[in-house]
Amino acid sequence: MSILIAVVTLSVIAALFGLLLGYASIKFRVEGDPVVEKIDALLPQTQCGQCSFPGCRPYAEAIASGEAPINLCPPGGETTMLALADLLGVEPVALDDEHDTEPTKTVVVIDEQTCIGCTLCIQACPVDAILGAAKQMHTVIADECTGCNLCIPPCPVDCIHITPVKVEPDTWRWPLPEQNFAAPRA
């Protein structure tokens, strides 16, 4: 008899908790994958596609699902890779040899004399940083340009050039002092 009471009690408790968990899983359901959001926030948003994914968000989704490694983002460089490793709790992976650990920031400039106004670059720009209209001169809004260089291949007259972003005294960074410790003097 006492065994029965125990079995019944436990079953009732199990059923109650089951219901509670079932309710919670519906009520507090998380829409989308929050990890993707966090990864996407770390990516540089150049939308350049150099990672072989069509933009930063698809790459973030691929990382979240474990399909892509964390070292595929050349514009982000080592900083982004380390931040991703930190976020995901994985070991840092070295970047490809061909990419700099700290890439120089660039923007593109349209040679307005050569531009024929074909609008192909406008369609290619992922952040709407190119201004112009059909058969009108185009120009790049430098402040909005992310340096993804996606506008360069479509240009039929090769009038788009890469220029490094100028370092101003306000954006200049102090160098890390060199640590070549001198041998102690006798």
Binding site: Q47, V127, E144, E168, R173, L176, A182
Partner: protein, 549 residues
Amino acid sequence: MTRTTHQLWHFHGGLKLPGEKHQSTGTPIARTELPRQLVIPVHQHIGETGKVLVNIGDRVLKGQALTQPTAYVSAPVHAPTSGTVKDIAEYPAPHPSRLSTLCVVIEADGKDEWIQLESRADYKKMSPADLRNLVRHAGIVGLGGAAFPTSVKLNPGPGHQIKTLIINGAECEPYITCDDMLMRERADEVISGAEIISHALNTAHCLIAVENNKPEAIAALNTAISDAGVDYIDVVAIPTIYPTGGEKQLIKVLTNKEVPSDGLPADIGIVMQNVGTAAAIYRAVFHGQPLISRIVTVTGKGITQPQNMEVLIGTPMSALIEQACGYQENADRLIMGGPMMGFTMHCDSLPVTKGCNCLLVETADQHSDENNAMPCIRCGECARVCPVSLLPQQLYWHASSKNFDQVQDYNLFDCIECGCCAYVCPSHIPLVQYYRFAKTEIWNRERDQQKSDHARIRHDFRQARLDKEKREREERLRKKKDMLEKKKQAEAADKNETEEDPKKAAIAAALARVQDKKAKAADAPKNTDNLTAAQQKQVDEANKRRETE
């Protein structure tokens, strides 16, 4: 009157440094010769760069505005003398980056002709806002070295009642004496400036803090106060401990209050201005003169005749060195600012800016080479002297290993870069450089983050726009298709109505004709009836033939 009873407190740490001040206080403030050419950097302050108002070839008068502020935190620059604008281009600026910035180059015509100057000796009738505006357009920035626009500091914002104005005459860094000489020679200007600031801030209490190693300055200020007959300004002699001239340190010494970590002195009812700034405000209000000159200490063991001089902004540093009778033979490096917080300059052709309080020339034996740094031995001396009570050693470890999150956890941004930790470090580690590296790196990352967030918004917006356009196009296509379909159906229906009827009619007519024919055939006489035998035979034969054929 000096209140000898003014209670003072101590801040944490600090250093007693050899003053080295007597070198440059022997002679009065000298006037510099008008240089042939002045290079005025457009951006000499903290905040936004102003918009250039002049063109190449323009004649400008002394005191004419060359730029106009573009944002709230911004300050204009003015022509230091009359002459012609020779160039507006990038020239090397006195900045540790050694980068060039936009400068206006003025070729002096030697006439030194002022613009129309307007005195506002009746400033007490002006509202604080008008007074702030006057100070803003006079291009006045903090002359203690930070060059923060003064008009912004004069506006503590609603809800901040300023109880105490502190005029900072501490000048705690070794060698520098420009504030000392200013207080000695122009104490009346400082006091007038303090009165104007008090009026602008609606403050009833003002303290002028001077280190006790400047008795002449304290005496001069007290005389000026009694001459002016103001009762709310007190001169306080404070102990000579570096860096007591730091804003937060001086507030602690005078009031025992601490400014919150990410706050401003205004949050605790205090505003602090440098003595030089006060004098500049006096000149702007009483004489209408914008900030076009400042007092610079030219000193150091590598200088032949150390002294203070009143220098027009934009004068090349080499002209100052020349006036001080040039370098000594063993001069090794030129520093803008003091020995603790100054920056080494890569050449002496750079222009003097508003923030340049001292040119210090050190000899080779005076400074240790950065490459002599040895590993940290964790002695903890740095933490003992830090005036902000930070843990410099922890900051060093995290900065050198680029752990930027941890370095912020240790309050890197409260570091005032005073250099005490590096001064006492037995391993000669250039600690402040590590902190500066970490600070600029973190700022850079913040800028990158802002930029990428901005790019994400633009990309998402573009994506949304493209999707919308696609949807609209599909919708249009679908509608068009539907319309075509409907039209087709309607046409088909029309056709059916007009085409099917004649068909049916034709069929009906044909049927009717057939039936008619049948009926007629049934009625008609049959030519095979009633045949003769011969005729029957012929018919049979014909039938037989047909069958056989």
